[in-house]
């Protein structure tokens, strides 16, 4: 058959067209408001951006030889070598409430904050359980100063000699009422000024520990027992006896047996197992204790302690609160050049005469399994199970036994895990570790090895400088090695019977200078980028000569310089690490681009602008990755210093061993029962249980499972089991239809709640007026009355039994029950209106209320806030706009520099409406005279004059001030094209944290710009309000037990549980997993910084909500139509909007009539 040319051509054309389409697609696939409105001023932003680093600070005081001024030792000799500050008497008494307050006599600084009352109680509480040197609370309190998180303590100090000093602070970490995980954070002020950037945030670690240690004393040694201390690891069943100790539950145990003559004591560590042998996470608690702290860097860039320059004469030293309360016991100034300086390994070796000490015998080996840490620096350093090798001790092919530490997060500079140990022989030792470091390819990670006890002193410190750089190389598999810095293996001197504590702290070690160089380079290039951006816009014309050599000569030079810096750094890395992994190659790629851009008088700049931005992002991620020193540790062994390589623990299992292990674990995976994970006892069919559904990710549901089973968990406190099921989003509706739904559902959005509620598909759990709350016919009267009683009374669950507060057993008083609750031994459930009143803002409660009945308890709450780039605003020399007027005044400046403001119209229409005093609904605002409970939501409020003005104002932003209607907010914020973006706070925060790493620290967020109202008395009131959206935990029909379900709902939304959930999310999924709890009390315990917390609180105090009354779906679409008509076709916005009002009101009327709700046709109907 003949083929015509036409056909062939046609085929060709068509196939090329479609092929390109497909390729393009594939390519793409690969790719109420009185206060509030706090924002940092321009000066604050500038001082933050321009503040000198510690390096620059030191350079200022160095003499021509590069030495720092040492205070005159002779003057100090008289004072015993150090300058001590009397923390109580030298405290500046400048606080208004200090003199009057009786508490002041105990040396307590109580800030003016609203939390002061709690703080004092916390303080007393902390002291009740703790007394040092036999001193009572009253005596001790006279010698210490309590600093609340909001307070500032300033001390006068008379410095005898000019020079550099280290600052040593003895502090006590109080247990806070919240389960706050964050470390104590303070700003250090010398003479009321921050000396350098790094002093802005000093971290005082809290000490955490697993609650799994028990000491058994007074045992009699058996004949076979070895003298001294023996450490044994055993897996035992409940009732088994080992070395005279009987264990209570199945689990994995560490016995530290100390035998002295015939006396024996056992320190028992236990990790309980569930019914399938999986380890159950032990509870972690804060361990309040005194710690000694030298002011030092938290970023990991400086290993030595910070030295501060102090002039002879009166000075002040201040600690300004950032996070968490602390008690200060002593502050000392220690001159540099004294004992406080850290020696080198050689000096340490010589000073302690290690050369003359003898190695111990090879029997003196002590093995420390890393899964039994004594202390941790924060509660995200957790133990876990690793099934990747059968050589890991212990290991099991079928169950998850905890055998390592550091799987999740033990990687941030400053985090540590500590182990105590004793040896049986005095002499020289070295240490080895079995570990896995598969995170940083071609690089090594470091741990600072700190020691306490014996010759190492009574505060944790590195014995010598090299210990900061204890080095662990990269490998995909497990490794075993003696601890050293890469050049030498460290030797240590330990004495028999002395208790030592070993701290393994994440540090950047010798990589710190290089990483800092890259970070500095990135900052410089970022600045260049911004200046070029202001000149050319984000998409420069490649063929236009911008004459960079005339306009931005310095930036051209800077680009060339930084290209060289990066190339050199890459080389240095290669030398240091010995190999060149892909991680290091990244630097060279960036260097090459910078080099090309700086060549040829910047001709290549225009063509490479977008590349540059993405490379900056790469660099930001590179720095983040490099600073993470992930290390999974299996065990640490203390050997004799002459132990050979053979003495090392086995790193890898043999070939046959690992194959057999794999086979067994493969078959075991068929029999693993994931539903019974964490169960300590076989489930009993008769027991009360609550069925809960959650429609989030697997990680989230795992966290809830773990929380339910934990010490503060629901099951532990009430004795009631919880069946938690992970379902997909759309499952709830069909399940309600089929009557197969759960008892409780977590996280239903407020519009669905109203939709389900009005159709009687979910159960109301609270009412404004319990007398008016009627049964809707879905329940029997008996059931309804039971529910009403349950949600309107206080109950205590004690020992698995529920008692109403007025029917407590055997003459128990309410106070006694409360005491049990405080000790986590009982569970208390509180009436609905009481808890919600304490926990939630009124706007949040409005969204789940229908005709006076509340459906559910809010769990998540989102709202828009304003994100700003402080570097760009500082460059423009403008303050963060406080009001819309200021924002509009900023606009010309920004637009002249090719920048704009990111505001999405849907959100803007809503919050401008409310800020300017309007409302979406008529008769729905409780603060106004025309409020009507029957008619709220019966008529739209968009046809009022205020609403019309607001709508047309927003529309004008887009039609006259050329705001973008459609844009990718986080991308434009990152590139600097939109230095101000108004957007949902957690999702934007989360995106920026991981996506825009190169601008870390250059942005912030605050409450929305406010709308100015002139009051009758001439004052200006500014309304900063935002609109909140809510998701809630709801109760469904067909629940099995009203009280249990209600208790679970309360427990799940409780502040400590919510913040614990948020914190675990961050610990497991990283800093971009911030959770937006609706519970206002939960914020405190989550990992927001002080400034962020202030901003969020600010906005939370200024929230409105738009309730989804029946028919509300129609509003959004018609306002959007009106808006788009104005933008697309230049229609008059108000006319366009008014054209839809009747249609909206008709739909609402129709919808309300469907549910027999009171209806209105026109506003005049009510009047």
């Amino acid at each position: 058959m003949k083929r015509t040319v036409f056909q062939k051509l046609m085929c060709l054309v068509l196939s090329v067209t479609i092929l390109s389409g497909v390729l393009a697609t594939t390519a793409f696939a690969a790719n109420g408001s009185a206060e509030g409105g706090y924002r940092p001023s321009l000066d604050e932003m500038k001082s933050y951006l321009d503040a000198s680093s510690y390096e620059e600070y030191l350079a200022e005081y160095r003499d021509e030889n590069g030495d720092l001024p040492i205070p005159d030792p002779q003057v100090l000799q008289a004072l015993g070598g150090i300058v001590s500050i009397d923390v109580v008497n030298d405290l500046k008494k400048e606080y208004s409430d200090y003199a009057e307050n009786a508490e002041a006599s105990y040396g307590i600084v109580v800030s003016e904050s609203k939390y002061s009352a709690n703080s004092y109680d916390d303080y007393k509480e902390a002291w009740k359980n703790f007394a040092e040197d036999g001193l009572t609370y009253e005596e001790m309190a006279d010698k210490t100063v309590y600093l609340s998180p909001e307070s500032k303590g300033t001390w006068d100090v008379d410095v005898p000699a000019t020079g550099m000093y280290y600052i040593r602070i003895k502090y006590f970490n109080c247990e806070t009422t919240q389960s706050g995980i964050s470390a104590i954070e303070r700003q250090l002020l010398i003479n009321e000024a921050i000396p350098f950037t790094e002093a802005r945030s000093l971290k005082f670690n809290k000490t955490w520990k697993y609650n799994f240690v028990k000491t058994v004393e007074g045992l009699t040694a058996a004949s076979g027992d070895k003298q001294g201390t023996t450490t044994v690891y055993e897996q035992l069943d409940a009732g088994d006896t080992y070395s005279g100790v009987t264990v209570e539950s199945d689990g994995y145990y560490k016995f530290v047996i100390t035998v002295e003559g015939t006396k024996k004591s056992v320190k028992l560590y236990s990790i309980d197992g569930d019914i399938n042998g999986n380890s159950i996470t032990p509870d972690m608690v804060q361990d309040s204790q005194w710690s000694t702290y030298y002011c030092q860097d938290t970023t990991g860039y400086y290993n030595e302690y910070f030295a501060f320059y102090l002039q002879e004469g009166p000075n002040t030293i201040g600690l300004k609160g950032q996070r968490e309360p602390m008690i200060v016991g002593a502050i000392d100034l220690i001159p540099i050049g004294s004992d406080a300086d850290i020696p080198s390994y050689k000096d340490f070796y010589a000073a302690n005469g290690l050369a003359s000490k003898k190695p111990v015998s090879s029997d003196a080996k002590v093995t420390i399994e890393a899964e039994f840490p004594d202390y941790m620096s924060d509660n995200s350093v957790t133990i876990g199970g690793d099934n990747s090798s059968s050589a890991t001790t212990p290991s099991s092919p079928s169950s998850q036994i905890f055998n390592t530490i550091g799987k999740l997060s033990y990687s941030t500079v400053g985090q540590w895990a500590a182990y105590t140990f004793k040896v049986n022989e005095t002499g020289l030792y070295k240490m080895s570790m079995r570990f896995k470091q598969n995170a940083l390819q071609g690089m090594y990670v470091c741990r600072a090895l700190k020691l306490k006890g014996g010759i190492y002193g009574d505060s944790a410190a590195v014995p010598f400088k090299e210990a900061y750089n204890t080095q662990f190389d990269f490998s995909d598999d497990w490794q075993s090695q003696y601890l050293g810095d890469g050049n030498q293996v460290f030797e240590f001197y330990f004495e028999e019977g002395v208790e030592y504590t070993m701290y393994l702290e994440c540090s950047l070690g010798s990589l710190k200078e290089l990483i800092k160089r890259v970070e500095d380079a990135m900052k410089t290039v970022n600045d260049c980028y911004l200046r070029i951006l202001q000149l050319t816009g984000a998409t420069p014309d490649e063929n236009y000569n911008y004459k960079f050599q005339e306009t931005l000569p310095m930036d051209l030079i800077a680009l060339a310089e930084q290209a060289k810096v990066l190339a050199d750094t890459a080389k240095a890395f290669e030398e240091l690490c010995g190999t060149k992994g892909s991680h290091i190659a990244t630097l060279e790629t960036v260097a090459l681009l910078l080099h090309n851009m700086s060549a040829d008088y910047g001709w290549e700049i225009a063509a490479n602008m977008s590349n540059l931005k993405s490379y900056l992002g790469t660099l930001g991620t590179w720095i983040n990755d490099s600073k993470k020193s992930t290390l999974i540790v299996d065990s640490i062994t203390i050997h004799s210093s002459n132990a050979s390589e053979k003495a090392l623990p086995k790193a890898k299992a043999g070939f046959f061993g690992s194959v057999w292990f794999e086979i067994r674990s493969f078959f075991a995976s068929f029999f693993t029962d994931y539903d019974s994970m964490g169960l300590r006892e076989e489930p009993n069919d008769d027991a009360v249980s609550v069925e809960v559904w959650i429609a989030t990710g697997r990680d989230q549901s795992n966290i809830w499972r773990a929380l339910i089973d934990s010490q503060q968990g629901f099951t532990n406190q009430t004795g009631k089991a919880v069946k938690l099921k992970l379902v997909t989003g759309g499952t709830l509706l069909p399940s309600i239809l089929a009557d197969k739904g759960p008892d409780v559902y977590i996280g239903l959005d407020s519009s669905s709640i109203i939709n389900y509620a009005i159709r009687n598909a979910i159960v109301g759990v609270g009412a404004e007026d319990y007398d008016k709350w009627q049964n809707n016919g879905k329940m029997t009267d008996e059931e309804f009355n039971e529910l009403k009683t349950v949600v309107s009374n206080t109950y205590y669950t004690i020992g698995g039994k529920d008692y109403r507060a007025d029917q407590l057993p055997n003459g128990m008083t309410v106070a006694q029950a409360e005491a049990l609750v405080a000790q986590n031994k009982a569970f208390k459930s509180v009436p609905y209106m009481q808890i919600t009143g304490e926990r939630y803002v009124p706007a949040a409660m409005d969204t789940i209320r229908l005709l006076g009945v509340y459906y559910g308890i809010p769990s998540g709450m989102g709202f828009a806030m304003m994100f700003y780039r402080s570097d760009i605003l500082a460059e423009l020399g403008r303050d963060i706009p406080d009001t819309w007027t200021e924002l509009m005044a900023l606009l010309p400046d920004m637009q002249a520099n090719n920048m704009s403001i990111g505001l999405s119209y849907g959100a803007a229409i809503n919050f401008i409406l409310y800020q300017s005093g309007g409302s979406m609904w008529r008769y729905a605002d409780r603060n106004k005279d025309d409020y009507s409970p029957e008619y709220e939501g019966a008529l739209i409020g968009l046809d009022t004059n205020v609403a019309k003005a607001a709508f047309s104002w927003v529309t004008r932003l887009y039609t006259e001030f050329s705001f973008d209607v459609s844009f990718d907010a986080s991308n434009r914020f990152r590139t600097g094209e939109m230095p101000i973006v108004i957007s949902e706070y957690t999702s934007t925060y989360n995106t920026l944290t991981v996506y825009a790493t190169e601008i870390n620290g250059l942005w912030g967020f605050c409450a929305l710009p406010g709308w100015e109202h002139e009051e009758d008395d001439g004052t200006i009131r500014i309304d900063y309000s935002s609109i909140c959206s809510i998701s809630a935990t709801i109760l469904l029909h067909g629940y099995s037990d009203a009280l249990s379900a209600w208790q679970f709902m309360q427990w799940q939304t409780r502040e400590d549980i919510q913040s614990e959930y948020g914190n675990r999310m961050v610990a497991i999924l990283g800093p971009s997993a911030k959770y937006e709890s609706a519970n206002t009390l939960a914020l405190e315990g989550m990992s927001w910084t002080a400034d962020e917390l202030t901003a969020i609180r600010d906005q939370m105090d200024n929230l409105y909500s738009i309730v989804n009354y029946p028919g509300s779906y129609i509003i959004g679409r018609y306002t959007e139509f009106a808006f788009l008509a104005a933008v697309n076709d230049r229609a008059d916005p108000v006319e366009a909007l008014m054209g839809y009002i009747d249609a909206i009101n008709d739909e609402i009327y129709r919808k309300r009539a469907e549910f027999d709700m009171p209806v209105l046709e026109k506003p005049s109907d009510l009047e």
Binding site: Q7, S15, T25, R759
Partner: protein
Amino acid sequence: MPEISNEAAVETPVRPTQRAEMTKWQWTWKEIKRNKTAYFMLAPFFLLFIVFTILPVFLSMLLSFTDFNMLEMPNIVWFENYSRLFTNDEIFILACKNTLIFAAITGPVSYLLSLLIAWFINELPPKIRAVVTLIFYAPSISGQVYLIWATLFSSDSYGWVNATLMDLGLINAPILWFKDANYVMGLCIVVALWTSLGTSFLAFIAGFQTIDRSMYEAAAVDGIKNRWQELWYITLPTMRPQMMFGAVLAITGSFGFGGVVTALCGFPSVDYAAHTIMHHLDDYGGQRYEVGYASAIAMVLFVIMFASNIIIKKALSKVGE
């Protein structure tokens, strides 16, 4: 014509006499028993077909006479839904208009496009044909690939089309393509055509393969003048079953083209400019929980599709005449 006897398959030639002695039902029952193996083999599919296709249509018809709200017991309202639909729902009328415009353009055009391209491809050597077929078919198998259009015609000033037009100086501000009533319908039709080379296109290719080559030779002898005559008199009549199949798919596809529009334009589309009956159904069934009313809409859509199927069938029988 060679004698091919169907009677060889009939085992019992006496059947007609027996049939006369039975009632119709008795006879049917007897036949069922006789062919029980066939019914047994058919049963699994038939059961599923009834439960998941016939029954829902029937249920939907019943529900269209009620005010069912998905969560509560329905009340019977007889023809209220229908009367509201035709007399008191402007948007429904608009949706009907949009649907008909949409179907009238995309249905026939995509059908002809599939046919023509299949015809062209059929002329290629087998190996190349396989590759080209895959390339053409790829857009419709790769799920949500139409979202590429959302990127191309993004309202962002960095959208490909907007950026290009702005670079060329044709426009000053970005056009909100899928949010502008002037462009929405046109764009959606283009996207619909692009994704339409789906199953029917494959069926056509298969159809072309089944044609007996000797027919063309015979036709050449009988005096066919050109390729068009060949196509009209031989190729198309021979593959009538495939064409019917393709036509049914084209109709249902063009009437039911809702999801893609929603994904590109949002729901509802601006000013209801691309609001089809499918969307109206979604609106009432999904957003307003008025399942009774939505069922009435579904019934109307069902009737329209059914009617157009009959018309197409009639039209196809004219092919080759």
